[in-house]
């Protein structure tokens, strides 16, 4: 189970079973798209080693990290480390992944913009080789 305690900002929510994640990740939806807000907001909690598939967002996404330690990596670039208070402004149509480190869980708020009715394009899993390389280069 992902670490969770009374200090967590949000409950973990429901386990994600959509096939777009490796390992165990959970989603607590905070806000759905409506006439004023052309985005969804959710809190995503990744257990250690859990991460998204590679994916893109047609109109970008903003991550606000609320606890733990993890990574954000754009294809072909070094990973950026994520910790409490990190804010990442993910550009449109940019292949990337995010998730927990091997040694810690990660929780972040995600504000995901829509382009029409679409807000994400899901691609291949992040391989263990890709993931291990990032962990090796970014020890806590």
């Amino acid at each position: 189970m992902a670490q969770e305690n009374n200090n967590s900002l949000f409950p973990k929510g429901e386990k994600l079973t959509n096939g777009y994640f490796t390992g165990d990740a959970f989603l607590k939806t905070l806000l759905t798209k409506d006439k004023n807000n052309d985005f969804v907001i959710g809190s995503v909690t990744f257990e250690p080693e859990a991460r998204t598939n590679w994916h893109t967002h047609p109109k970008g996404q903003v991550l606000i990290v609320t606890e733990g330690y993890g990574f954000y990596q754009e294809k072909g670039k070094p990973a950026q480390t994520l910790k409490k208070g990190s804010v990442i402004n993910i550009p449109e149509n940019t292949e990337h992944w995010h998730g927990a480190s091997a040694g810690s869980h990660l929780a972040h708020i995600a504000i995901t913009n829509f382009l029409g009715e679409e807000n994400a394009v899901w691609l291949q899993p992040v391989t263990d080789s890709e993931y291990n390389e990032v962990n090796k280069n970014n020890k806590l």
Copy 2:
């Protein structure tokens, strides 16, 4: 000084001196408006007794409370209490205020949508009488 410690999600940022707040409030800007994000994101920290003026947002605002205890009140309605994890979806063109309780600080993330170049219309201060009434009715 507002309470702040190593557990705070964000630093307090800069003291707000725009005349639209009563008491001491602070803003840490997290994200500015850009081509993908038609909103600004900031972390606002209110010292005890600090609150916004009454105001409206032409395209609404989302609040995500990160610590403390406070209030959100729409004109003519009972106040809602705010605590860590509270999410408020503020409708467009709806007169309201938010802020700390008399006995606690409050910190929230604010995602403020734009309508064209405008994102807020500032009105009169929340009087001590209005504020004290809300505190009296919502003791921790």
